[in-house]
């Protein structure tokens, strides 16, 4: 078997494929491209890829069907979804369907590279996890069972008073280099599920967006975190929550969140 290729880009727009190939190659990744989903499936059949970057709106098989087909063929390669029809519904649905990230088009080089670098780290962590199963060592702190998560990035916990708390998962933090800065939103801001609710600047200068797991109005920003951003890495699930929100449509939005209890099976 030949060498594993880092990235397979799938898009029906040649200019996007070229741009992705050009920029990622310069960053040192090996890149192959496919003009549609069935070509991509053929390539996956013949070769191993670390990561797939896939457009949603494509003729014949679309991105969601591609994800389903991969699942049917038991191909575990992680997928980053992207689309020009960048509605938040698409973002949330992609993450629920098993994509590890979502980049709305058009994207800058930094946005693409931030996502790819996180994905590469994610793949490493998954590999380390398989090894660690035998040695019982901890690779990352899993999400508490009563929490819900959007993709693997952000979590949501229901409070007794009807409000919700949100934050970022340990796994997400571990896909980043050392964090240099944390940018949070303000109290009273309206957040929308699937849109960026905070961003983390890593040491390499890339800015990583954290997608909000729920829509609603921020009623409290964690004061401890504002004082000391480093707290985040110590206790991401409890003391380092981001916001307390009044959710606007929790019942509907929860359908697109993954219960963390399913991670233990």
């Amino acid at each position: 078997m030949s060498k594993i290729v880092d990235l397979l880009a799938v898009d029906d727009e040649p200019v996007v494929l070229e741009a992705v190939e050009r920029t990622c190659t310069t960053e040192g990744y090996s890149v192959e491209t496919a003009a549609d989903a069935s070509a991509a499936l053929d390539k996956l059949h013949n070769r191993r890829y670390r990561l797939i970057l896939c457009d949603i709106m494509m003729p014949a098989l679309d991105g969601f069907q591609f994800l389903a087909e991969m699942d049917r063929r038991k191909i575990k390669t992680p997928v980053i979804m992207t689309t020009g029809y960048s509605t938040l519904e698409n973002a949330v649905r992609s993450l629920y369907d098993g994509a590890i990230d979502f980049i709305p088009k058009p994207f800058t080089v930094d946005e693409l590279l931030a996502s790819v670098s996180r994905a590469m780290k994610y793949i490493e962590i998954q590999a380390a996890l398989r090894q660690a199963r035998s040695t019982d060592s901890i690779v990352y702190v899993p999400c508490p069972t009563r929490y819900l998560r959007l993709g693997y990035g952000s979590w949501l916990s229901l409070e007794n008073d009807g409000s919700v708390r949100t934050g970022v998962t340990d796994l997400y933090l571990r896909t980043l280099d050392a964090i240099r800065e944390l940018k949070l939103r303000h109290g009273n801001d309206e957040l929308v599920q699937g849109s960026s609710c905070a961003s983390l600047v890593s040491k390499d200068g890339l800015e990583h967006q954290v997608l909000s797991p729920v829509s609603g109005r921020v009623i409290e920003v964690n004061p401890d975190l504002a004082d000391d951003p480093m707290l985040l890495q110590k206790d991401p699930f409890f003391r380092s929550w981001f916001y307390r929100l009044i959710p606007s449509d929790l019942e509907y939005e929860m359908k697109h969140l993954i219960p963390c209890s399913s991670d233990r099976i």
């Binding site: 200019v15 994207f107 800058t108």
Partner: protein
């Protein structure tokens, strides 16, 4: 002739004909009865005169003198003839010579009244002695009166010994008068009656016609033509409803109905337009975002790789920045179709103004437009969606340039910091009844803002009061007229009263109603129409607030006065095919989303000023 007016006139005409006909019939009958009675009395008098005039001559049996008298009497025009008959029925004297000596049959019609019962009657009432008859069918009528000549002592004592004492009636005097004159008068009064009836019918019908025309025909015609107008699609047509009767009411409710209909049609039209706009936006987003991805990745890639070449960096930064802006525009196009919330961050208004001006610089210099800036450097940073705000300024600048035209002019951009009272600035966005039902009606807008809908009862009439949501503004609407009367107000859903039993309006002492503003206390309002007392204590307590004011003033052609109230409506455009009519309505929406206000002043030929006020702190 199916017109309602014609039918009414016909009904009135028939009624008049019948009533006047009956009246005339009895009138003519009474007149002719009166006239005949008169003639009868006259004839009776005459016959008595003849009887007593000839008495002396009778006694002395002076036949020539009697003849003479009878002839002379009968010469009067109205008298037909005078006869004296003896008891055997022989004509003894007559005004006509040929009659003398003739025998009259006692069974004849003239004698029947007395001789019918075989034995002659001796005394008869005047009616029974009178007879009216015609000689033949075409002749004039005659009235004959029989006057019996009774026996008396001087008769049987007279020297001629003609009559003996045993007789009662010696003979009869028969006077016949012509009724020609009377008949003519009756005919004449019949004709008069007929003329009167015709004139009355015509005049009455005319008067009724005039009123029917004014009270029924015109309003019905107005309604009819309005219905046709509305049916042909002109929903802005209204009927002048100045009358207070049922047809006036009908006209008013018709106007109300068309207004509602046009509102509903506009909403339908708008939602339809929104839906196609949404599809268009999705298509555009998808199609544009792919090429934009190429531009953005390559330009940001270049920017990353040319950090050692500052002369290229500046240009590349512009490309990246503007591409990012395009991305936001496309996104906001999608968001606009889905009405999402703005992405607000702290920003410097002047920077946004700079960027907006830079974008339209080319167009402005082409049109020889000079931009004068009078900026207040002490302006604080405010929380806005920079992209949306930039879109607002670009739109206003482009509109201003369009208004100025090709001959050049000036746009003045002014900024200042104001401290304003919440009165007249703040509007109600949430309102609840005591049972927490939402009172905001997004369907009904006043000056573009969703009104507060309240149920009102006044004089046992039920309706709705739509309260102007702007604190201090009084463009309220109500569905039931209640002038000057205090209203009873309640929640439209649960009918819980909103009246405050313990409070009176400090201005006019009328009852006060209030409702809850979640998180902002209570809103109080005087319930009497026309009284403008309002209080929003929680907001008043916060006191004056700082606003950033941005004025964009142009020296262009101005906006016609009649268009001013409508310019912020969606799809209203004065640019014909050039504009979409969405510009100002989108601006309005953006400013409203920022809890700000936008107003416009314009004078034809002198220019237009748009004034935007944005709160410094929300």
């Amino acid at each position: 002739m199916n017109k309602i007016g014609f039918k009414l006139i016909l009904a009135v005409g028939i009624t008049t004909v019948i009533s006047i006909g009956v009246y005339s019939f009895f009138m003519v009958r009474s007149i002719s009865g009166g006239l005949e009675g008169e003639v009868e009395r006259h004839a009776n008098q005459l016959s008595e005169t003849v009887k007593y005039g000839t008495r002396y001559d009778m006694l002395f049996n002076q036949r020539d003198r009697i003849h003479e008298l009878v002839r002379n009497m009968a010469a009067q025009p109205s008298i037909n003839r005078i006869r004296v008959l003896n008891k055997s029925g022989e004509v003894v004297y007559s005004s006509r010579e040929e009659d003398i000596g003739q025998m009259v049959d006692k069974q004849a019609e003239a004698c029947y009244a007395c001789h019918a019962a075989d034995k002659p009657l001796e005394r008869l009432s005047i009616e029974d002695r009178t007879r009216i008859y015609r000689v033949h069918a075409d002749s004039t009528r005659f009235l004959g009166i029989i006057n019996p000549i009774y026996n008396e002592p001087s008769c049987w004592e007279a020297s001629c010994h003609e009559h003996d004492q045993g007789q009662t009636v010696l003979g009869v005097l028969d006077v016949v008068m012509s009724l020609e004159d009377v008949d003519q008068r009756i005919r004449q009064s019949e004709i008069e009656m007929l003329i009167f009836a015709v004139v009355a019918i015509v005049v009455l019908s005319f008067i009724v016609a005039v009123f029917v025309e004014r009270w029924v025909d015109w309003p019905v015609r107005d309604l009819l033509s309005a219905t046709e107008e509305v049916a042909s699609g002109n929903l802005s047509h209204t009927i002048p409803a100045k009358r207070s009767d049922e047809l006036g009411l009908l006209a008013r409710s018709f106007n109300h109905m068309t207004a509602k209909l046009s509102e509903a049609r506009l909403q339908l039209f708008q939602s339809d337009k929104m839906a196609s706009l949404g599809r268009l936006a999705a298509g555009v987003a998808h199609e544009i975002n792919n090429p934009l991805t190429g531009v953005l990745t390559y330009s940001s890639f270049l920017l990353k790789r040319t950090q050692d070449r500052p002369e290229i960096q500046e240009d590349l930064k512009v490309i990246v920045r503007e591409t990012l802006r395009s991305r936001e525009i496309v996104k906001s196009l999608l968001d606009f179709a889905r009405q999402s919330v703005p992405k607000k961050t702290e920003a410097d208004i002047h920077e946004i103004l700079d960027r907006a001006q830079a974008v339209v610089e080319n167009q402005l210099s082409l049109n020889k437009v000079r931009v004068v800036r009078q900026l207040d450097s002490s302006l604080p940073r405010i929380t806005v969606d920079s992209n949306q705000m930039q879109q607002v300024f670009i739109n206003l600048l482009v509109n201003a340039a369009d208004a100025i035209g090709r001959n050049g002019g000036t746009i003045t951009v002014q900024t200042s910091l104001l401290c304003l009272s919440p009165y007249g600035m703040l509007n109600i966005r949430k309102a609840q009844c005591p049972k927490r039902h939402n009172l905001i009606d997004n369907e009904f807008k006043i000056d573009g803002r969703a009104a507060v809908k309240l149920r009102m009862v006044s004089n046992e009439e039920e309706g709705f009061l739509y309260l102007d949501p702007l604190y201090g503004s009084h463009h309220h609407r109500q569905t039931v007229a209640a002038d000057g009367e205090p209203l009873q107000l309640s929640c439209p859903q649960c009918h819980t009263s909103l009246m405050d039993p313990e409070k009176k309006c400090p201005v006019c002492s009328a009852p006060v109603f209030r409702f809850d503003i979640p998180g902002k206390g209570q809103f109080e309002n005087c319930s009497r129409k026309g009284c403008e007392w309002q209080r929003w204590a929680a907001v008043d307590e916060e006191g004056h607030k700082d606003y950033v004011e941005i004025r964009v003033q142009d020296s262009g052609c101005g906006i016609p006065k009649e268009d001013l109230p409508r310019i912020f409506e969606p799809f209203f455009s004065s640019k014909g095919q050039k504009g979409t009519g969405l510009g100002l309505s989108v601006i309005w929406g953006i400013i409203d989303n920022h809890n700000g206000s936008i107003t416009v002043q314009s004078e034809g030929g002198k220019g237009t000023t748009f004034t935007i006020r944005l709160p410094v702190k929300e």
